[in-house]
């Protein structure tokens, strides 16, 4: 990106964190440095005292095509296990089990190039969690999913075992269900806290969850 993201200090708590904010505000830049894909030009980031590149991190790109390295869905999902020299029979069992849980068992033999956009997104998520990462970083894959697949993705994330699950989303109802939210705009973290704390600052904007408006009877 060609704009600066400046975060003088931020401590993200363990659990599920939603990263929200307007387009071009710096959400993806934050996720890229959190995942270790990019390095900050100044300052440092540590996850429980360790740089991201020394952590087990699962990454879901905002462009699902950029996650895909292998020909078939099965090979793609199995790749993190194979890179860790997990025996093939064990890797196959893990992949099959997880794919079934995600409702994509039928996709395993398919070439990834034949998948729909939504299918690529869920395959990218399954691949990211298959090896049980300590940190899961996902960049807005959920906008490609139908409700049923979205719910399966939610279960996968909940069961991933990741200590930190950090997800960029434009689904404010989802953000409202997370443990914490970071609202990024203009290259700065404008708000960080629990959903109640953050959304209190966003009342009256379209970022305020629709369901909360209904619940509170606050209207548009």
């Amino acid at each position: 990106m060609f704009r600066k993201v400046t975060i003088p200090a931020l401590s993200i708590h363990p659990g599920r964190t939603a990263v929200i904010g307007p387009n071009g505000g710096g959400k993806t830049s934050l996720l890229r440095v959190l995942s270790g894909i990019a390095l900050p030009q100044e300052g440092s980031i540590t996850i429980d005292g360790v740089p991201p590149r020394q952590c087990e991190i699962g990454w879901v790109n905002e462009y699902p095509d950029r996650n895909m390295l292998f020909f078939s869905v099965k090979d793609e999902i199995a790749s993190p296990l194979r890179f860790r020299n997990v025996p093939c029979s064990k890797a196959d069992a893990i992949v099959t089990n997880l794919a079934e849980k995600a409702g994509i068992g039928h996709l395993l033999p398919r070439p990834v190039k034949d998948l729909s956009g939504g299918e690529k997104a869920i395959v990218a998520l399954v691949t990211a969690v298959v090896s049980g990462p300590d940190v899961l970083v996902a960049d807005e894959f959920d906008s490609h999913l139908d409700m049923e697949t979205f719910e399966a993705a939610e279960r996968l994330i909940a069961q991933s075992g990741a200590s930190y699950s950090i997800q960029c989303t434009q689904n404010m109802n989802l953000a409202g269900s997370c443990d914490h939210i970071a609202f990024i705009s203009g290259g700065k973290v404008q708000h960080y806290g629990t959903p109640g704390e953050v959304f209190k600052n966003l009342a009256g904007t379209c970022f305020y969850p629709f369901d909360w408006r209904i619940r509170n009877g606050t209207g548009l």
Partner: protein
């Protein structure tokens, strides 16, 4: 002006899509599970994919545009200005409307995905099309941009607009809902009556219908108004 799927069937090894129906001028919403065939339907509608059986007819349709799910597939310009010019548009006007003033000399791939989608949609929606197919137009957009896109779609009159989407909150005023169920395109019906039969309806709309409240349409203001009745 009409788009007709005449017993059109697209076949793959372990999957098929059947479509039989007429799309008349107005706004049509197509929903379905991931992999159901929405993109395949879009490609057939645009004439970029031929059905293996049956036919797709575009009667009295002289201009067709397909907006693909991933905006990067559309990019041909090496700068943002060149990209806008490739659509036959004035970069100054489009970049101002898209809130991207001053970025004309930048590489389009240096934009965030949401910004690239916004740029792409502003280019497409700056012109009128007899048949406009929008495949997941809302993905990657923030709520302000989604609202803006809905307003721009609402202003499109006279042509056929088909929106394939998983969006759960922001919609323009829709005339007809279609669904792809078990490999078949089904005309769920015109609004508001179709809402009682819409199996892929967003949770908020489903809750309203379950309580016997049928919104007039599915725009955010329609749903908010209907939700207020629920509280009364």
């Amino acid at each position: 002006m009409e788009l007709v799927f005449d017993h059109a069937v697209f076949l793959r090894k372990d999957w098929q899509l059947e479509a039989d129906g007429r799309f008349l001028p107005g706004i049509h919403l197509v929903s379905g599970k991931i992999g159901a065939g929405k993109t395949t339907l879009s490609l057939m509608a645009a004439g970029l994919l031929s059905p293996d059986k049956g036919s797709v007819k575009r009667n009295d349709i002289h201009s067709v545009m397909l907006s693909m799910q991933f905006p990067e597939y559309h990019v041909t310009g090496s700068t943002i200005s060149a990209e806008v010019r490739s659509w036959g548009l004035d970069p100054d006007i489009v970049l101002a409307s898209a809130g991207l003033e001053g970025y004309g000399k930048k590489d389009p791939f240096r934009l965030s995905r949401g910004e690239l989608k916004r740029l792409h949609l502003h280019c497409i929606l700056s012109r009128d099309w007899d048949l406009l197919i929008l495949d997941e137009p809302f993905s990657a957009l923030d709520c302000r941009e989604k609202k803006d896109v809905c307003q721009r779609i609402d202003q499109k009159t006279g042509g056929i607009v088909i929106i394939c989407t998983h969006e759960q909150r922001f919609f323009p005023h829709v005339d007809v809902i279609w669904e792809i169920q078990c490999g078949t395109l089904v005309r769920t019906g015109e609004l508001p009556h179709a809402l009682t039969r819409w199996s892929h309806a967003p949770a908020r709309i489903r809750k309203l219908v379950e309580k016997g409240i049928i919104p007039e349409n599915i725009s955010e203001s329609d749903i908010m108004e209907a939700s207020c009745w629920m509280h009364e």
